[in-house]
């Protein structure tokens, strides 16, 4: 009953005409920012911080959070249509979303992403309303030791991501880790692989790496003139024909529900849970699928699950911020800055001291998701019409956006050069049949795991047993072992079963290396 009355208080705040307009503005700006490579949500929210000071504190957080989840959806649009992830969490959507677009189902992929995100948003909002107030006590037990184990689990999940074999994915994970070490080591202060270049002291930016590896390398593949590389134009132009068909809706229902729950629970974990949720969902769907070989070729579940998980995780990541004062990622960190500017310190006392803010933000999430789906689904046709642009012109436009986007981060031509260099490297890697998605995900996790590992070992006095003493950490490590050990065992068992089931003379003709489930 308490939850309902609190939610009523929140909706009272969220549906005021002023806050509705602010949520709409946030969603529009966020979607536009997500579509444009370069100026990501973190930079945009930082730019809008001075404006938020003039707003009421609840309105300020509604505006900034609207930009945040608007950008999440906007990032999916470019991931699906042109294979440029707007956000690290959208990397996974590139894999099957782009393949769906290449098969003329770009509109369906966008609609599935929109409806999946909406459903996940509603689930996450209800989840936050129910779980949020009680989560503070539990989440305070989540320290660097638990974070390190969570990231180890993340790496095990990354191993199964992408189109290439596991051994090639492992090489890309190693390369991602290596690239993540460039810059000043925060613990020792050592400059690693900086070679006296000042611009390298802060390391490579995630967006610079993503635009180069995905955007520019795609431009170079398009330049080969292979018409199958660029996404084809769907035959039908009517909105109804661009929507998912019955089979696609059926195939997406389960993944959306599972992705919503997985994303919500992983998003509650401070420090990267929301990021891990999208590829955890992808791996889960691939494992559950009867046709795992369809993943990487335009599987509906490969879009629906990660998109739902991504959105649920993004919303659930407000819980560590509002209940504990721990920002789950850089964007949430900037929103925390806005709260501090308004004189509010996020933490366990926030729900008690500012209930109108806490419940107002939760109710605005529901309103924001509704606005996003109402705003974006009718625009699917417009987004898909981007695919009618001829290949050569599209390649030039992507180059323009990537170059100016890379420049706009730090107003630095060094970033442009780095992005173009990564584009050439990405092209060479893809030509050599290495998938660059695990590289990018390992790059993101690399920086996080190194920092938390150092902190964990300081807390544990250098003893590795500290990772087994913490029950949460032990659970994550056990899950990591299961994720890495189970597929080969299952594959071997299945192979033996299928050999036993076949007559002796046929079984000898079976290939030794059957695909893994």
């Amino acid at each position: 009953m308490d939850v309902l009355s609190n939610l009523a208080l929140g909706f009272g705040q969220a549906v005021s005409p002023e806050n509705l307009l602010i949520a709409l503005a946030g969603c529009i700006v966020g979607t536009a920012v997500g579509v444009l490579p370069g100026l990501g949500p973190t930079a945009t929210i930082s730019l809008l911080l001075p404006i938020s000071v003039y707003l009421d504190k609840t309105s300020a957080v509604i505006l900034l959070s609207g930009i945040y989840y608007g950008a999440m959806y906007g990032g999916s649009i470019t991931s699906i249509l042109v294979k440029i992830p707007g956000e690290a969490a959208s990397v996974i959507t590139c894999i099957d979303g782009y393949q769906m677009a290449r098969k003329g189902r770009g509109g369906a992929a966008l609609a599935i992403a929109a409806f999946g995100s909406f459903f996940a948003g509603v689930v996450a909002t209800i989840g936050i309303a129910v779980v949020g107030p009680g989560v503070a006590d539990y989440a305070l037990a989540f320290g660097p030791i638990e974070k390190t184990s969570l990231f180890i689990l993340g790496f095990m999940l990354v191993l199964g991501v992408g189109e290439s074999s596991k051994i090639r994915a492992l090489a890309m994970i190693g390369l991602g880790l290596l690239l993540a070490t460039v810059g000043v080591d925060l613990v020792s202060g050592d400059e690693r692989f900086v070679f006296d270049i000042p611009a390298l002291r802060d390391g490579f930016g995630i967006a610079i790496l993503a635009m180069g590896l995905f955007g520019i390398s795609e431009v170079l593949l398009m330049a080969e003139g292979d018409e199958t590389t660029g996404a084809p134009i769907p035959h039908a132009g009517r909105l109804r024909d661009l929507m998912p068909n019955r089979r696609e809706i059926r195939e997406s229902a389960g993944p959306v529900m599972r992705g919503s729950l997985l994303g919500f629970f992983l998003g509650l974990l401070p420090g990267g849970g929301a990021l891990i949720s999208s590829f955890a969902s992808y791996m889960l769907e691939r494992k559950l699928s009867r046709t795992p070989e369809a993943f990487g070729q335009g599987a509906v579940a490969g879009v629906a699950g990660p998109e739902a998980a991504n959105n649920a995780g993004a919303q659930a990541s407000f819980i560590p911020l509002l209940c504990l004062g721990i920002p789950a990622n850089a964007t949430i960190g900037v929103i925390m800055g806005a709260l501090l500017l308004a004189g509010i310190t996020p933490g366990p006392r926030l729900i008690v001291e500012h209930p109108e803010l806490f419940w107002g933000v939760i109710a605005s999430m529901f309103v924001g998701n509704l606005i996003l789906v109402v705003l974006n689904v009718p625009l699917v046709g417009l987004f898909v019409s981007l695919l009618r642009v001829p290949r050569a012109i599209m390649a030039i436009l992507i180059t323009f956006f990537c170059v100016i986007g890379a420049y706009s981060f730090n107003n630095s031509m060094f970033d442009v050069g780095t992005m173009l260099a990564f584009g050439l490297v990405g092209y060479a890697l893809r030509k050599a049949r290495f998938d660059v998605a695990p590289l990018l995900l390992a790059f993101v996790l690399g920086g996080l795991i190194e920092e938390s590992l150092m902190q964990a070992l300081i807390i544990g006095h250098g003893e590795l047993s500290a990772f087994l003493v913490s029950p949460l950490s032990a659970v994550f490590l056990a899950a990591a072992v299961l994720v890495s050990v189970m597929p080969p065992i299952l594959s071997r068992l299945l192979r033996r079963k299928s050999r036993d089931a076949l007559p002796q003379d046929l079984s000898k003709d079976l290939p030794k290396d059957l695909p893994q489930p």
């Binding site: 100026l39 051994i167 090639r168 492992l170 090489a171 994970i173 190693g174 390369l175 880790l177 290596l178 690239l179 993540a180 070490t181 080591d185 613990v187 020792s188 050592d190 690693r192 692989f193 520019i216 431009v219 170079l220 593949l221 330049a223 080969e224 003139g225 050569a392 012109i393 390649a395 030039i396 436009l397 180059t399 323009f400 956006f401 170059v403 100016i404 420049y407 706009s408 107003n411 031509m413 442009v416 050069g417 173009l420 584009g423 050439l424 092209y427 060479a428 890697l429 030509k431 050599a432 049949r433 290495f434 690399g446 190194e450 590992l453 150092m454 070992l457 300081i458 006095h461 250098g462």
Partner: protein
């Protein structure tokens, strides 16, 4: 397989460099050299695995002239930007690529480049207030 070998050589160089310059473990704690060591070792082991698995298979890949021309355009973009500014440099690169690599007519190439330059100027410079570099010529 050739790609795996090149990657292995790069990782081996990074590994030797990091071992020579950074501590792997100090005072009972991981040093700044631990993560580069882990990353480079993973690349070497995995690429070795790829090389062994794919020995005997045809290696290498052919590079088409078009991506090569795009690559040259990207490389020339940086000095050209220093000279004439980012948007004019991008415009020139676009015209050159569309005309001589993609074989569009000169008029169409110029029109596409002009629209892209104008759109980028409006969006980034005017709307988002990104101070795009003017270059040596316009910078006076």
């Amino acid at each position: 397989m050739r790609g795996a070998l090149v990657l292995m050589a790069v990782a081996a160089t990074a590994l030797v460099y990091s071992v020579l310059h950074y501590d792997i473990w100090m005072s009972g704690m991981p040093g700044s050299g631990l993560m580069p060591l882990v990353g480079a070792s993973l690349v070497i082991v995995a690429c070795l695995g790829v090389a062994i698995r794919e020995r005997g298979l045809p290696s290498g890949f052919t590079v088409h002239p078009a991506p090569l021309a795009y690559g040259v355009g990207f490389v020339l973009l940086l000095p050209l930007t220093a000279l004439i500014g980012l948007l004019p440099a991008l415009g020139l690169m676009a015209v050159a690529i569309l005309r001589w690599v993609e074989h569009l007519s000169l008029g169409r190439s110029v029109a596409v480049a002009a629209v892209a330059v104008l759109g980028s100027w409006l969006l980034f410079q005017r709307l988002l207030l990104v101070p795009l570099p003017l270059g040596w010529i316009w910078g006076f």
